[in-house]
């Protein structure tokens, strides 16, 4: 029974082996999985063990989103932790209309955007290392060996250039690219998180991709 509940609550990656690719939060109209509701109830009463489980469940996705927005591990660490702390402090205001995941996601996104607006003069990157699988990712192998005009470009150079390009986007555009193209959320889910309509998400995604494509033209075919 517990196993079944876990299956219900654990999102299924859309692509095998995709550690950071994220799964959509549940629809607000759908019933929130029982176990998460219980954990939230317990956490609301001050049960830190229950909240610890909630944090462990969503920490990777929240961290990844903030990291891709900031391109800075230390900032992402602080902001992700603060988002969960704020989430715990504000649990009483959580109505349960959406999943806890969507709710804490919004907190993290708002915190990150506020932080980035204040940080405008300081855009220092502190990038995480690439995992071993990156060298064997078929998409990347093809991109480097066959399609890239600058074939000498290594993965690290591509990573830096890509992050530079991301940082040139405005916060809303960067967020849309992060949520859709990096984390794999749907337009609908992004619209819920960002509090805008789907058309806005689509247009922002289009514009952001155009900007990125222009900036990274040397590295694309």
């Amino acid at each position: 029974m517990r196993e079944a509940a876990m299956i219900m609550t654990e999102p299924i990656p859309r692509k095998a082996g995709d550690a950071l690719k994220k799964v959509p939060p549940e629809e607000p109209s759908e019933p929130v999985p029982v176990e998460e509701t219980e954990l939230v109830q317990r956490a609301r009463k001050g049960d830190l063990a229950a909240y610890d489980q909630l944090v462990q469940r969503y920490q990777e996705r929240i961290y990844a989103t903030v990291y891709h927005m900031t391109s800075n591990h230390e900032d992402a660490n602080d902001l992700a932790q603060e988002a969960f702390i704020k989430g715990f402090q504000a649990l009483k205001s959580f109505k349960g209309g959406s999943s806890f995941y969507t709710w804490v996601y919004r907190i993290a996104v708002n915190k990150t955007i506020n932080f980035l607006k204040q940080r405008k003069n300081r855009s220092q990157m502190s990038l995480n290392d690439l995992d071993f699988n990156a060298e064997h990712d078929p998409d990347l192998v093809a991109l480097i060996s066959d399609k890239t005009p600058r074939r000498e470009a290594g993965l690290t150079e591509l990573q830096e250039k890509l992050n530079e390009g991301m940082q040139k986007l405005s916060e809303p555009h960067r967020l849309v690219v992060t949520l859709h193209d990096v984390q794999g959320l749907s337009h609908e889910e992004i619209a819920k998180i960002m509090g805008c309509n789907i058309g806005t998400v689509r247009s922002r995604l289009f514009y952001a991709r155009q900007q990125l494509q222009g900036f990274l033209a040397d590295y694309l075919k």
């Binding site: 830190l48 462990q56 660490n77 932790q81 300081r122 995480n128 990712d137 991109l143 990573q159 992050n163």
Partner: protein, 154 residues
């Protein structure tokens, strides 16, 4: 306008690189522990933390806008310089030590610090001018440069 219908395939391939950026090993093992520890620390020291929240915000401004740090540093320097200038212009109680040696800068030192080789001609009793101020202390005034010479000689 459908972003998926445009030819962004190469870009999307490149963006897949972002998914391979991972934090240091073991990072997520301690992440939730750190969050819970910070929540507990906040509950225990909430009021104490609140006392210093203005200070954190103030110092945080330096991170956000370096111009604030420069302005604050300039203000502190200006404050220190003005303090030094105003202290030099403030008359000393008891008639002023500077009157003793005219325009020569002088140093007041305890007699006990004077070495056995102190030349008596440079030792001026303060009692004659500064009267009441130095009555209780066995002080003598000397030209500062002379004091350096004498102590260095020992």
């Amino acid at each position: 306008m459908n972003p998926d219908s445009e030819n962004f395939d190469s870009l999307r391939q490149l963006l897949s690189l972002k998914r391979h950026e991972i934090p240091p090993p073991g990072y997520f093992d301690r992440f939730s522990r750190d969050v819970i520890a910070r929540i507990k620390a906040g509950e225990r020291g909430g009021e104490v933390g609140a006392d210093y929240s203005w200070l954190r915000r103030f110092l945080g401004m330096f991170d956000v806008k370096p111009v604030f740090a420069g302005a604050f540093g300039t203000a502190v320097c200006a404050f220190i310089v003005s303090g030094i200038i105003s202290s030099e212009n403030t008359p000393v109680m008891g008639g002023g030590v500077s009157n003793i040696a005219g325009n020569t800068s002088v140093a007041a030192i305890p007699v006990s610090m004077s070495g056995p080789g102190v030349d008596e001609q440079f030792s001026t009793s303060s009692n004659s001018v500064a009267g009441s101020l130095f009555d209780h202390f066995p002080l003598q005034t000397q030209p500062a440069s002379e004091q350096i010479l004498l102590t260095g000689g020992n």
